[in-house]
């Protein structure tokens, strides 16, 4: 991920100004890993992660990004600040380590997202775990393996090149001597920093990586044993609830806490406008909260009706994105045979992770420990440190593998609330947001208004392309098609709702606009939409997924007809190449649409775990159905009007079409992340298929809010 895109992702985080960096104390981890073998990677290395780069003119400290430890029993532990949120990175990173270290997969323990135990990490977002953490861990594991082989060679007084490492052992094939890694590390204190470029096992030789291993500790997820953040319990733990304003930007006018104060089992905590309750049991805490009478003054605020006018008329010039230009659009448009000008919109949508935000906070003297669900444990640690005005080293954030996030759990509000209440209670306190709180007080995927102006020659050559995105973001804004004359720009605006990261960010909106528009141009030219794309496309990887999807789908074999439509779309973002073909059935009389079949082709370099990858791509397709057809946040006067699953519809079993995933394994290319970009192709493909079935072009997401086609 280029640094500018990373900073844009963080800019959507709303807490960028509060980011602080702390230098990890090297002595801490050397003490932690007292014996055995330790390999670390410095952030300054060529493949280091973003920690080593300049960011917003700050030179970040050179950091250790992860380390590999082999203890005196041969147990391998990997320490990384990345977190597991259901994307299966705990499994796939362990596969990469097992491969390079030549140990059985199950010999590896991954310690993730614990700010006291793992190195600093910016966070788990941007599809960066596989392309950045993957190679780093491989380098460390390879270095560790070399050290083990060298140590065995010294012990046997032989040449290390004559030795092999396999199955957690170093073997001398000639003398048939063998030592387990534990036997080599026992009583030793070996540490090394990765230097140069240690040899990595070619992907074509992978035996553990590249295979369909099941999720680490999978049985804990089918037995209920796995402890999510909201499941954490501490001795003497209390339950906390927080009083919520009646709307955004509300001012507290009056407060009556007398009823709650009369409840013997409950305690009310007041700190300015923050009002919370604590009780020994969750039920009493809920009753105490609902007994509080509060009056709020909520100012008049805009609603969905005025949303797009607002977005177009409230520029935020501070974050204005760079304009990408080439040639002259005006000149090319003047000479174009076919010209089109259209606009497209996307509504705010919610991440709606099934586990809402949750935190358990515990103070021990001046040290704060918080278990919470977040994609940025170090970011949350820094938020806590700043809020409570204590050094970050006195805050520990632990992130148990959580009930997902989809980009929605970057911030630390719930952790702060739990910590504030725990301070008042002088006991550990758990806070779990309700579904309504999660829908209201988290943040949303940005709404957006996108304008595209294009021109093409009669022979199907694209000659002019102008694309402006207002508010939703710059991800995936550039066109992969060959166009000599371009103007492409992102225009930030003052968002009426709190907005932030989301799976794929704005790539979904930008692909919806671009791939719908490409379809419109193809129809205006009377050319097959796939043929039109291929005519204007040289990128071999995008061509390959488009052709793979079309082939599996049988594109062109049947023609769309009234009521039955086929659509195609493709794109590339964050190193992932995607093409999606869909079939929709439309009942014109009842304006009902049904998605009946999806084929999605995917390529992101060498596949680390085909089963996990297939699961991610399928999940992205299903999640995309919601944003494409029916998910939209309804809001008015500072209130969310549909903050419940009964009103905010998510994709369910009945919405799921037949889904066929085609994976292309490019063992010759580095592995890219795959958690996000699989989401971008569906919405435009659906829009294009609906047009093919009905002749009506839908340019606003979602396209069927209440099950009926909108316009």
């Amino acid at each position: 991920m280029p640094t500018d895109e990373l900073s844009l992702e963080l800019a959507q985080d709303e807490i960028r100004d509060r980011l602080h960096w702390f230098r990890l104390d090297r002595r801490d981890f050397l003490r932690l890993c007292a014996g055995g073998l330790l390999v670390v990677l410095e952030g300054a290395s060529a493949t280091a992660q973003e920690a080593g780069r300049g960011f917003r003119e700050q030179e970040l400290p050179k950091e250790v990004s992860a380390w590999v430890h082999i203890d005196e029993d041969g147990k391998v532990t990997i320490f990384t600040g990345k977190v597991e949120v259901g994307q299966n990175i705990r499994t796939s990173l362990a596969q990469l380590v097992a491969e390079e270290l030549r140990v059985p997969f199950h010999a590896i323990t991954m310690v993730m997202g614990d700010t006291d135990l793992t190195p600093w990490d910016m966070g788990t977002f941007g599809s960066r775990s596989t392309p950045t953490m993957g190679p780093q861990l491989r380098m460390m594991a390879s270095t560790a393996r070399q050290m083990l082989v060298e140590a065995a060679a010294q012990r046997w007084k032989t040449d290390s090149s004559k030795l092999l490492a396999a199955d957690g052992r170093v073997i001398n094939p000639k003398s048939r001597q063998s030592l387990t890694y534990g036997e080599i590390t026992r009583g030793e204190k070996l540490t090394q920093t990765v230097s140069g470029d240690p040899p990595l096992t070619p992907t074509s030789d992978w035996k553990v990586a590249g295979t369909a291993l099941g999720k680490v500790d999978g049985s804990d997820f089918v037995t209920g044993k796995h402890q999510y953040p909201s499941d954490i319990t501490r001795p003497g733990m209390m339950f906390g609830k927080v009083l919520r304003p009646a709307g955004f930007n509300a001012k507290l006018i009056s407060l009556d806490i007398s009823a709650a104060e009369k409840m013997p089992a409950a305690q009310v905590v007041r700190d300015g406008d923050f009002v919370g309750v604590i009780a020994a049991d969750a039920w009493t805490a809920e009753q105490a909260l609902s007994s509080i009478q509060a009056k709020w003054n909520v100012p008049a605020q805009i609603s969905n009706q005025e949303l797009f006018d607002h977005i177009r008329n409230n520029p935020d010039s501070e974050g204005e994105g760079p304009q990408h230009t080439s040639g002259s659009v005006a000149h090319a448009m003047a000479g174009a045979d076919v010209k089109l000008e259209q606009h497209y919109t996307v509504q705010y949508i919610a991440h709606a992770p099934l586990e809402p935000r949750a935190a358990v906070a515990e103070w021990n003297g001046d040290k704060l420990t918080v278990w919470t669900g977040t994609q940025r444990p170090f970011g949350v640690r820094d938020e806590l440190a700043e809020t409570f005005r204590i050094p970050a080293r006195r805050v520990r954030v632990i992130m148990p593998d959580m009930g997902s996030g989809y980009g929605g759990k970057h911030t630390g509000e719930c952790a702060i609330q739990a910590a504030r209440l725990a301070k008042a209670a002088d006991k550990p306190v758990k806070v779990v947001w309700t579904r309504e709180e999660e829908f209201t007080w988290a943040y949303f995927r940005p709404a957006g208004w996108i304008e595209i102006h294009s021109g093409a020659q009669r022979d199907g050559t694209l000659v002019a392309w102008e694309h402006h995105n207002y508010n939703s973001g710059p991800s995936g804004i550039e066109t992969p098609y060959n166009v000599a004359n371009q103007v492409i720009q992102f225009h930030p605006t003052k968002s009426p709702l709190r907005q932030g990261s989301y799976r794929g960010l704005a790539a979904t909106a930008n692909h919806f606009a671009r791939e719908s528009h490409m379809d419109e141009l193809a129809h205006a030219l009377g050319v097959d939409p796939l043929e039109f794309r291929l005519k204007n496309l040289t990128d071999p990887r995008l061509r390959a997924v488009l052709q793979a999807a079309a082939e599996r789908f049988g594109w062109g074999r049947a023609k769309s007809a009234p009521g039955l439509g086929f659509g195609i779309a493709g794109g590339v973002e964050k190193g992932g190449y995607v093409a999606t073909c869909v079939e929709v059935e439309v009942n014109a009389a009842r304006k009902k649409v049904r998605l009946s079949r999806v084929v999605e082709a995917w390529e992101s370099g060498a596949i680390v775990n085909p089963d996990g990858l297939r699961n991610q791509i399928m999940g992205a397709v299903v999640q995309a159905i919601g944003g494409a057809l029916f998910e939209a946040i309804q809001f008015k006067n500072g209130r969310i009007l549909n903050p419940h699953f009964a009103q905010y519809r998510l994709p369910r079993f009945s919405d799921v079409p037949e889904i066929d995933i085609v994976l292309i394994d490019r063992k010759d290319l580095p592995s890219a992340g795959a958690g996000e970009t699989g989401i971008v192709g569906l919405a435009p493909a659906v829009s294009n298929a609906i047009f093919a079935a009905t002749g009506t072009r839908l340019r606003n997401m979602p396209m069927a809010v209440s099950g009926e086609l909108t316009s």
């Binding site: 319990t233 969750a282 099934l354 959580m402 997902s404 079993f653």
Partner: protein
């Protein structure tokens, strides 16, 4: 406050609480049976599903007093002698989860479904399961797991490539 005797996973457990407290809250917060999840509190997502006398119920909408005297089964009570139930095993074999937060509720709903329809049709699966949300979108795999469990199939090797 009411004194209630609950039969949970075959054990008699005593609780003293308001009978209006939800079964979900009692399971999670009093008995630390945290496999049953909160997802919405309004019976819309199915994450809190338990079996009450063998029938799938939303524990977030069930008053604990109404469950007294009944047989309550949670995800923690499905294994027998350390062996996964066929539905649990099928979910594991099909890797029918991502974050896994919906999984307990899914497994209990499927357990009840297969009791009612040992060999459900696709339509029966959709109708029965439509109240359970998987935000990660693993529905196709869950359907496969349901079919695997209903057919009592053993694990078919490790080739997941054609899922």
């Amino acid at each position: 406050m009411d004194d209630l005797l609950l039969n949970i996973n075959g054990a008699a457990l005593h609780t003293r609480t308001s009978g209006n407290e939800t079964l979900l809250s009692v399971l999670r917060n009093q008995f630390h049976l945290t496999g049953t999840k909160y997802g919405c509190g309004e019976g819309q997502c199915g994450a809190c599903t338990v079996l009450i006398d063998g029938v799938a119920r939303r524990s977030c909408l069930t008053r604990v007093s109404s469950a007294a005297g009944a047989r309550i089964t949670t995800i923690e009570g499905l294994e027998s002698n350390g062996v996964l139930s066929p539905v649990q095993q099928a979910f594991l074999d099909e890797e029918a989860f991502q974050c896994g937060y919906c999984t307990a509720g899914m497994i209990l709903s499927v357990t009840a479904l297969l009791r009612e329809h040992p060999h459900p049709t696709d339509q029966q699966i959709i109708e029965y399961m439509d109240g359970n949300i998987c935000r990660c979108g693993t529905y196709p795999r869950i359907v496969r797991a349901i079919k695997r469990a209903s057919q009592g199939r053993e694990k078919e090797g490790t080739d997941h490539a054609n899922r």
